[in-house]
C-alpha cells in the first residue's frame, strides 16, 4: 500500500511539473499585455503613446520581471512556487496566496453544500428510480434529470434568483459569503449536477440487480433490503469517482454560479483575473486547481483500495509476487 501511494505521489509531482509548464506557456500565449490593460483602460484622456506612458510600462515590466525572456520568467516562477510563493497580483498589488486564501473558504463552503445535495439527491432518487424502473415515479425522475441536465446552469440560477430574491424576497443578493446566502447557489449547483449521478446510480443498481449473485440471493430467500444493500455496495465504486471529479469541478469551475450569485469564491476571482491578464493570479489559481485535481484522484484511488476488497487483494498479490 505504502509503495503504491509513494509511486502515485511521484507521478503526481511529475504531472504537476508538466502542468506548470503547459500553464505558463498557454497563459503567455493569450493576446494582450497585462500592464497595458491595467494602465490603458479607456477613460477621459488618451495617455498612450506618450514618453511618460512608455516609461511607466517599461518600469512596471521590469518591476514584475515581465521584461525577461520566457525561460527566465518560468524559472523564477518555479523557484517561487517551490518555496510556496505565488507572487503578487498585478492589479491589486496583494499577495496571490492571501487573495486565494480569502476566497477558498467561500468556494469550499459552496462546493461542499452542492456536493451534499448532489450526493443525497443522486443516491436517493437513483435508488428510487432503479427500484421503480418503468413505473411512473421512475419516469418523473428521469424527466427531472433530462430537464436539469439540458437547461444551462445560468438559466436555472437566474430563474431561482428572480423567484426567491425578487418575487418572494426570501433570498438576499449581495457580495457576502455566509450561511444564509448559501442555500440558493448550492441548490442550483446541486440541481445541475444531480441528474448525472441519478442516472448513474440507477443504471448501476439495475445492472447489479441482474447479476447472478443477486439472483442467487433472491433464490435463497434473502430479504429485499439485504439484497439492495449488496447491490448498492457494488454500485458505489463509480459513484465515489464521480463525486470526487464533481467536487474538483465544483471547486475549480463554478465560475458561472459564483458570478450569478455574486458569491466571492475563487472561480469568480479567477475569471476576473483572466480578463485582466493578471498572470500571477491565473498561474497561482491554475497550479492550486491542478494540485486539487491530482490530490482528489489520488484520494479516489486510495478509497478504491479501501472500498473494493478485490483491489486490496490484487495489491497484496502483487506484493507477494515481488517478494518471491
Amino acid at each position: 500500500m505504502c509503495k503504491t501511494v509513494f509511486r502515485r505521489l511521484i507521478g503526481a509531482v511529475i504531472t504537476l511539473f508538466c502542468a506548470t509548464l503547459v500553464l505558463f506557456i498557454i497563459i503567455r500565449l493569450a493576446p494582450g499585455d497585462p500592464i497595458e490593460i491595467m494602465l490603458g483602460r479607456p477613460g477621459d484622456l488618451a495617455i498612450k503613446n506618450t514618453p511618460a506612458y512608455e516609461a511607466r510600462v517599461a518600469e512596471l515590466h521590469a518591476q514584475l520581471g515581465l521584461d525577461q525572456d520566457m525561460l527566465t520568467q518560468y524559472g523564477q516562477w518555479l523557484k517561487r512556487l517551490v518555496s510556496l510563493e505565488l507572487g503578487t497580483s498585478i492589479h491589486t498589488g496583494r499577495e496571490v496566496s492571501i487573495e486565494i486564501a480569502e476566497r477558498i473558504p467561500a468556494t469550499l463552503m459552496l462546493s461542499l453544500a452542492a456536493i451534499l445535495i448532489q450526493l443525497v439527491s443522486g443516491v436517493v432518487f437513483g435508488i428510487i428510480s432503479a427500484i421503480r424502473a418503468g413505473k411512473i415515479l421512475d419516469h418523473v425522475i428521469r424527466l427531472f434529470c433530462v430537464f436539469f441536465a439540458s437547461v444551462p446552469a445560468f438559466v436555472i440560477g437566474l430563474v431561482l434568483l428572480m423567484f426567491f430574491a425578487v418575487t418572494y424576497h426570501i433570498y438576499e443578493i449581495s457580495g457576502d459569503a455566509n450561511i444564509y446566502r448559501l442555500w440558493l447557489p448550492a441548490i442550483t449547483l446541486g440541481l445541475v449536477g444531480a441528474p448525472q449521478l441519478i442516472r448513474m446510480v440507477r443504471a448501476n443498481i439495475l445492472s447489479e440487480l441482474g447479476q447472478t449473485y443477486i439472483v442467487s440471493a433472491i433464490s435463497r430467500g434473502l430479504p429485499k433490503k439485504q439484497i439492495m444493500r449488496h447491490a448498492l455496495k457494488n454500485a458505489m465504486l463509480p459513484i465515489v469517482t464521480m463525486m470526487a471529479l464533481s467536487f474538483t469541478n465544483l471547486i475549480a469551475g463554478s465560475v458561472v454560479i459564483e458570478s450569478i450569485f455574486s458569491w466571492p469564491g475563487i472561480g469568480n476571482y479567477a475569471m476576473n483575473s483572466v480578463l485582466l491578464h493578471d498572470y500571477p493570479v491565473i498561474q497561482g489559481y491554475a497550479v492550486i486547481m491542478v494540485s486539487v485535481v491530482i490530490m482528489a484522484n489520488l484520494l479516489v484511488e486510495l478509497l478504491y483500495m479501501l472500498i473494493d476488497p478485490r483491489l486490496r487483494k490484487r495489491s497484496r498479490l502483487e506484493r507477494g509476487l515481488e517478494n518471491e
Binding site: P42, D44, Y53, V166, G175, D176, S259
Partner: protein
Amino acid sequence: MKKSITTALVLALCACLFLLSGCGGASTSESSTPGTSASPSTEPSTTSPDEVVDNRELRIAGREIAVGLNPTVPIVADYLVNMGAGELLFKANAGGIIEPSLAAGVEEIDPTTWEIKLRPEACFWSGKPVDADVVIDSLEHSRETDLKAQPFLEGMSFSKLDDYTIQVKTTLEHLTVPLNLSYLQLVIHNVEPPYTYEDLNTIDFTGMYKIVEFVPKQRMVFEVNNEYWGQKPTIERIIQEEIGDEQTRTLAALSGRYHVVMNIPASSMAQFAGSNVAQISAVPPANTETIYLNLNQPQLQDYRVRQALSWGLDRDELNLLGAEGQSTPVTTWLGSNPAFSEAKNTFFKYDFDKASALLDEAGWTLGGDGIRYKDGMPLTLRLMTWGVDKALGEALQNQWSKLGIQATVQHGDYGLIETARGTGDWDAFIEAWGTFGNTASLLKGQYSPAGGANYGGYDDEETNQLLDSLSSASDETERHELAILIIERVAKQSPVICVYPRPELTAVSTSLDGFTPHFRQFENVINSNLRIVD
C-alpha cells in the same frame, strides 16, 4: 420496500432542510467601527438574517469597486469621489459647469496666473487642515506618480501665497485651470507620513464619508465624517458592493435590497417598466461610441469609402438595437459633450443613396451577389467589438451589408483588440472615450499623429494646424470655434465614425430621495441631500 423509499425520501428532505436553514428574509447588516482594517467577508460569516437593514444605511452596487485605496492608481479615485470619500478642488455640475468644490473660489488674475482660495474650515479625516502646502503636495504627488493625472497638470506650477491661497502659473494663456483640476485623478489627499495609501490605516482624505472597511473588488463600507466642512449627510453609513454579473445587478435592483445599482445593461430596461421598487436614471453621458477605422487598410484609405460608412448608418435604429433607445445619436465626437451640443448632429444624417453614390464614385460597384467589388476584390470590413457593444456591432453589420459591404463582426475580449492594434491586423473597432474636459487635450489625443487614441493613423495637415491653433488659443470663444472647425475637418476626412453616447443606466430605488442624475454619474452618486424614505 415502500418503507425504504419513504425513509430515503425523508432523509433527502432532512439534508435539504439543513441547507435551506439559511433561507429567510436575509438582509444582513455588518457592524464595523471606524479604523477597522480590511476583513474579508469571504470568510463564512454567521450574520443573522433577522438583522434588519438600518434606515440610515445606503446600499450601492456596481459592476466593480476599487482594487485599492491609492488615488493615484488608475480608476481608484473614481470610486472615492463617487462615494463621497475623496474630493476635488473643482467639480462639474449636472449642467457641465465647473464649480468650486473643496476650493472656496478661483480667480484669473492675468492670462497666465490664477489664484485658488481654499476653505479654512476644511480638514482631512486626520484633523489636519486643508491648507495650501498640503494641497500643493497632493497635486505634485499626483503629477509624479499618476500617469493619467499628468496631462491635466501639464504647463501648471503651484506656489503658496498664504495659508489658504494657491497661485497657479500656466505656460499657456487662459489655460482652463478649474476644468483641469476637476479631473478625477486629482483627488486631494494628505501625502505626509504615515499616509502611504496601502491600507485603511494609511489613508487620509477630506470627503463627507470615511472608509471604515475595504475588501478589494468586493466591498467598501463608509461612515459619515462628523468633522466634514460642508453640509453633513443624513445617511450615516454606505455599503458599496461589487456585483459582476449584469443580470444579477438588474435583479439586485429589482429585489429592493440596494438603493442605487449602477451599470444596468440597456437590455434590462424592460424589466423596470412599471416597477415600484426601482426606476432607471439615464442621462446621456459625455462619451461617444466611436468606430475607429484603420486608415492603413487599402479599402479604408479613400475618404469617400469612410464617409459612405457614416452616411449609410441609421443611428436612430442603432440606438434602438444597440442601446434599447436609451441614448441619442451623435455624428461628431465632441457632440456628446454638453458644451458642444450644437455639433451633435451636424454631419452624416442617414442618407443611404448618398452613401451608395460615394461608394460608386470610389469605384466600388455592386455585384450580382449584392457585394461591392473593385478590381475583383470585395469590399470587406471586419468590426471588432467588446464589452456591451455586441448588439451594436451586429446592427452595424446589418446596415453596412445593405450597402453591399461584406461586413463581419468579431466580438471578444478587449485584449484581442489591443493585440490587433499592435499587429495592425484590424479594420475597425468600437471604443467610447470621455469627451468632457480640456478640449485641446481631448482632440489632440484623438486626432493628432501622436495622439494616444489616434489608433487608425490619422495624419492630416489641416487638422494638425487647427489642433496647434487650439492649443495656443487664448480665449474661450476662440477655442470653441476652433474645436468646431476641427470637428468639421475631421468629419470630412472621416477617420472615425461616431454613433451615440454609450448609455450609462443607474437603477435608483423609489425609497431614495435626493438622487441627482448627472452626465458623469460615475462620480456623482453620493450627495449630502440623499435620504431614505419609507
